[in-house]
Structures are given as structure tokens and as C-alpha cells.
């Protein structure tokens, strides 16, 4: 935002810059320009949400034996579906599994991202360009395909990891789909796919820091490692917080990776492993649209509570300099 201030500074130095800047803008134009976005936003966000809220208050009433044309009817059910969701232990287990998955994924992914970002920003390190491009590359691979690749690499008979261990130690294998190991296996796909993006976010933040500070620390005799730990890390704290919060939100709605592994692992990952898989299972496969709708709303509310936190942290300082 400072850029705008610098550019407009010298030329708007007239008697009343605020008035001069805005007089000729026709009043109706901004509304006209907003029309496509507002219509599409309503169609894609608001109306589906409203429709889902409506569905979540409905249930199917069955008359008699439930046979024949008029036997099934949609009736108002108040908060019945929400009570059902609150008491549905499988739903809350799926939330817990997603949180556990996040507890594995987020520290490892962000830890690696931070280490790589600091390395890219350090002096005297070689192969930086290769490192930056290669580690960022999985961002361009869709998670479904990334999960497919790893899924194949977890398959006992195909796995290169297994075959390397076999030639080295003669042991035959890790069971990547074991009851506990499967969390690590799924989290590994997330780490592989997400480290690069977060690395780039943190690296960008590091590059934006004033370089003079390091020079001063270097003159005081600090090594590169100490500079990274004592100066760089604290200074990119806002970016670390942001990436952490965004990753938390992303883990609560994880679907692609466990869904692929669900297909490939023959049961190690259940069909209701994460909240979104549970919703998909209920609303789509299980044909209970109404319960699925209530679950969607509950998950959206959970995510919204988290989002609100981020909103509070970020929006204030970004748009200070614009006309309101």
C-alpha cells in the first residue's frame, strides 16, 4: 500500500487533493461493475448455503410401510438433524481424526517449510534455484494424482521404499496401511504436497526483511545459524501464524488424500474417515441429504470460527490507504 502513497504523493499536492481525486466518477458505475460478482457470489455461495440450511431442517416422514407414491414425504423437523449430528459419535470421531491428522501434518510440514525457506535465504548455500523449483513443484500436481502416486508407492508389491529396504536389510516391509501407520502415510502425502507452497510464502516474507539487520548481527560475530534463529524467525512470525492457521483450516476439510487411500488400501481408511468424507458419505452415498446438510453447516460453522480468527489478524493493516 505504500506504493500507492508514493506514486500519488507529488501529483496530488494541490489545494484539496481528496476532492480533486474523486469528482468526475459517475455514481452508478461502481454498482454496475459489481453486478457480475454479486450475482455469481450469490449463486455460488449464498443461495447454496441458504438452501442447505433449509434442507438441514427437513426430514423424510414415512407413512404406513413406506411403499407407494405418497408414502414418503418431506416434512419440517426443526433442529432434529442438528441433535442427530451432535449425538453422532462417528461425525465427531471424524473431526478428531482430522485433528489428529493435522497434529502430525502441520508441525512437520511447516517445520520443513521453515527450514527450507531459511536455507534458501541463507548465504553460501549452493543449488538454491534447483531446491526452490523442485520443492515447490508438487504444488502443481493435483492432490488426487499426488495421492495416487504415493498410494502406489505404499502398495506392498510395487513400493520402491519397500524394495530399497528389502535389498538393504532383507526385511520384507513396512505395512503403510497399518492401523496407526496409515495416519503417517496420509500425512506424508499432505507434507509432500504442501511444504513447497508454505516454503515459498515464508521465503517471500524473509526476502522482504531489511538486510541491514543481518549485517549488524554479523559484525557482532553472530553466525548464519544464530541469525536465522534469533533474528529471521521472530521477524517472520506473522507469516508463520498465517500459514499455521490456513493449514489448520485446510486439514479440517481434508478429502482428496484419505479418499484416494480409502480406495487403494482396502479398508485401512474408512469411508467416513474425515468430516468431509462423512458428509459425502451421508449426503451422497447414503441418500440422507438432510443429515448431510446439517453436518455441512456444522463443519462450516467450525471452519468459520477459525476463519474469524484469521480475519481479525489480517484485514486491518492491509487496506488502510484506500477510499472507503
Amino acid at each position: 500500500m505504500t506504493a500507492t502513497a508514493v506514486v500519488s504523493g507529488p501529483t496530488t499536492a494541490g489545494p484539496d487533493p481528496a476532492r480533486r481525486r474523486w469528482t468526475p466518477a459517475p455514481r452508478a458505475v461502481p454498482y454496475a461493475f459489481m453486478v457480475p460478482a454479486v450475482l455469481l457470489f450469490a449463486a455460488v455461495f449464498l443461495v447454496p448455503l441458504g438452501y442447505t440450511v433449509y434442507l438441514s431442517t427437513q426430514r423424510t416422514a414415512i407413512r404406513g410401510l413406506g411403499l407407494g407414491a405418497g408414502a414418503r414425504k418431506q416434512v419440517f423437523d426443526g433442529l432434529g438433524n442438528y441433535t442427530a449430528v451432535l449425538h453422532d459419535s462417528e461425525f465427531w470421531h471424524s473431526v478428531l481424526r482430522a485433528l489428529l491428522y493435522g497434529c502430525i501434518l502441520i508441525p512437520l510440514m511447516l517445520g520443513l517449510a521453515t527450514v527450507f525457506a531459511l536455507i534458501l535465504d541463507a548465504q553460501r548455500v549452493r543449488l538454491k534455484r534447483l531446491g526452490r523449483i523442485a520443492i515447490f513443484l508438487p504444488y502443481a500436481v493435483p492432490t488426487i494424482i499426488g495421492s495416487l502416486l504415493w498410494g502406489f508407492m505404499y502398495l506392498p508389491s510395487v513400493s520402491p521404499i519397500d524394495s530399497v529396504l528389502h535389498t538393504l536389510f532383507g526385511s520384507s516391509g513396512i505395512n503403510f496401511f497399518g492401523q496407526h501407520a496409515v495416519y503417517l502415510s496420509v500425512a506424508n502425502i499432505g507434507i509432500w504436497g504442501g511444504t513447497g507452497f508454505n516454503m515459498m510464502v515464508l521465503y517471500t516474507a524473509l526476502r522482504a526483511l531489511p538486510q541491514e539487520v543481518y549485517e549488524a548481527a554479523r559484525l557482532d560475530g553472530s553466525g548464519d545459524f544464530q541469525i536465522a534463529l534469533r533474528i529471521k524467525l521472530p521477524m517472520i512470525r506473522p507469516s508463520l501464524v498465517m500459514t499455521g492457521l490456513f493449514s489448520t483450516i485446510a486439514t479440517l476439510q481434508v478429502f482428496n488424500e484419505p479418499y484416494t487411500i480409502h480406495t487403494m488400501s482396502a479398508g485401512a481408511v474408512s469411508s467416513t474417515w474425515t468430516p468431509l468424507m462423512k458428509i459425502y458419505h451421508d449426503a451422497y452415498t447414503g441418500q440422507d441429504t438432510f443429515l448431510g446438510s446439517a453436518e455441512s453447516i456444522v463443519l462450516a460453522a467450525l471452519l468459520f470460527a477459525l476463519s474469524f480468527l484469521i480475519l481479525r489478524l489480517t484485514s486491518r493493516q492491509t487496506f488502510g490507504g484506500e477510499p472507503r
Binding site: V29, P30, I145, A208, S315
Partner: protein, 290 residues
């Protein structure tokens, strides 16, 4: 970056400029880890079904062209149809999304109007309530209206990108000076023409970034097309490959086709990614966008 040369001189004068071995090694390990699945799929795509399960993982097989032929002939070349569909969904959707973001972001940054704060907060909430959670509600609505299983059912939800609008507002604020707009106005240019001819070219690099983000987001969104589409001629690659996989668990002969397909579907994006590298700007706080 302008300070680098002087710093270089200063450091060399004080101590010898050695390569830092440990960090470089850690970086290399990271590269190996990232490239492992990619290398594996390239090698695996050369194997026929027997070789896949019997040959050691990184020894190339003999069946690369056989696999391609099999993939191309699977259901009369439906794989290429999937690729074309992906180009429509991701490419078309991202172009439309960048256009919408440009107009809306520009309006937010350069006009004063009633309800601006309200609309923008609404969009910020949209940034944070993620598209995947909306996929099920969107499907329910679209199914009710009878639009399911059409290209539009996937394209339209892909056009609105709250994050794109958010970024475009920042780019417009930073790259289009108010004086330029005012000068265009004094010259008698209509507001729409000013936007199209003056603002869009100035915002262009930012718009490419929005295009890329949205391209990846659409290409990555599996749940939306998976819910919306019923007929496999309309699938994007991700959904198509996934259905191939589900059949593969019953007939392992299809595994080689899935692997060859995965390899081929990574290539276009990797090329796009490498060509447009300088447009990947991922500063979340975005205050330093120039």
C-alpha cells in the same frame, strides 16, 4: 537485492567464502524427497503389468509405448477427452475468474460506493469458507435445478474466486495510479473503456498470478466435478483417473494404464509451472506486491 554486491565484497574480505555443506545437503535431501514420486511414476510408466509387480522399483521396463497405446485406446481414447475437459475447466474457468477478479478488485480499489465495506467483508468470509465445504451444498442445489452433469455445473462455481478478488484489489491499488484514471476521464474515456484499456494492462502481471492460482485451484478441486458430473465424457483428468483406479482395484491390469495416465497428466502442468515461474508470487500478506 542491490546491496548484494557490496555485501559480497565485505564478506570475502573478512572470511573465505566456503559452501555451507550441511544446509546444502538438507536442501538436496528435500529435493530428493520431492522428486521421488515423480521419478517413480516416470519409471513405472515404462513397465507392463508383470514388470510392475516383479521388477525392482527403479529399473525401467519395456512397455512404455504399449502403455501409451493402451491408455489411448481405453474406451476409444476417453483419456484425451478428459485432458481436453481439464483444459476447458481449469483454463476457461481461470480466464473467466481472472477477468471477474480484475473488474471487481478494480472497483473495490478505485471507487467509493455504498455497501463497499459490507461487500468486501462478505468476500473475505468467502476466502475463508473454503470451496470444498460448499461443494456438497452446491451439488444439492444444482441437482434440484436439474443442471447436474453439465459443463456449466463445474465451470460456474469455479469462476468466483474470493481470493482472486482480494488479490486484484491489492494489485489495482498498487499498480493503477488515481491520476491515470482521472486523466483518462478528462480525455472523455468512458469508465468501462478506462478499465479495459488503461487499468487492465497495468494490472496484467497480477492478473497472470490470479490466473495461475485459480488454474491450480480448479485443477485440484476433485470433489466438485466428482459430485456434479455423471457421464464420464465430461470428466476432468483427476476424476477420470480416479474412476480408472476404482476399476483397477478389481482388475489390476488397469494399474499400468492409471500410472501412464498419471504421468501424462502431470506433464502439462509442470511445463506451465516452469514457464510461468516468475508469476508465482505467494506473499500472503501481499503488502509488498510491487
Amino acid at each position: 537485492m542491490t546491496t548484494v554486491p557490496t555485501k559480497h565484497v565485505m564478506t570475502t574480505s573478512r572470511r573465505p567464502r566456503r559452501v555451507a555443506i550441511v544446509p546444502t545437503a538438507v536442501l538436496l535431501l528435500g529435493v530428493l524427497y520431492t522428486l521421488l514420486p515423480v521419478a517413480w511414476v516416470v519409471v513405472a510408466s515404462t513397465k507392463n503389468n508383470t514388470e510392475l509387480f516383479n521388477l525392482s522399483a527403479f529399473r525401467p521396463g519395456t512397455a512404455f509405448f504399449d502403455n501409451l497405446r493402451q491408455l489411448s485406446s481405453y474406451r476409444d481414447g476417453i483419456f484425451w477427452q478428459w485432458m481436453w475437459n481439464t483444459a476447458i475447466y481449469a483454463g476457461g474457468g481461470a480466464v473467466l475468474s481472472a477477468a471477474l477478479s480484475a473488474l471487481t478488485g478494480y472497483t473495490f480499489a478505485k471507487y467509493r460506493f455504498r455497501g463497499k465495506g459490507f461487500f468486501f467483508n462478505l468476500i473475505l468470509v468467502g476466502v475463508l469458507v473454503p470451496a470444498v465445504v460448499l461443494a456438497v451444498p452446491q451439488y444439492l442445489l444444482v441437482a434440484k435445478l436439474g443442471f447436474a452433469d453439465t459443463y456449466w455445473s463445474v465451470l460456474i462455481p469455479s469462476i468466483v474466486s474470493p481470493y482472486g478478488i482480494y488479490l486484484a484489489r491489492i494489485y489495482a491499488g498498487a499498480s493503477v495510479p488515481d491520476e491515470v484514471i482521472e486523466a483518462a476521464r478528462m480525455d472523455g474515456s468512458s469508465e468501462w473503456r478506462t478499465f479495459l484499456r488503461v487499468a487492465v494492462p497495468m494490472m496484467a502481471p497480477g492478473l497472470v498470478t490470479i490466473f495461475l492460482f485459480q488454474f491450480v485451484a480448479i485443477w485440484n478441486n476433485f470433489l466438485l466435478p466428482w459430485l456434479m458430473l455423471g457421464s464420464d465424457t465430461k470428466y476432468p483428468l483427476t476424476v477420470g483417473l480416479y474412476t480408472l483406479l476404482t476399476q483397477g482395484t478389481a482388475t489390476p491390469a488397469l494399474y499400468t494404464v492409471v500410472i501412464a495416465g498419471s504421468m501424462l497428466s502431470i506433464i502439462p502442468l509442470v511445463v506451465l509451472f516452469l514457464l510461468l515461474q516468475r508469476f508465482w508470487r505467494v506473499d500472503l500478506s501481499a503488502g509488498s506486491v510491487k
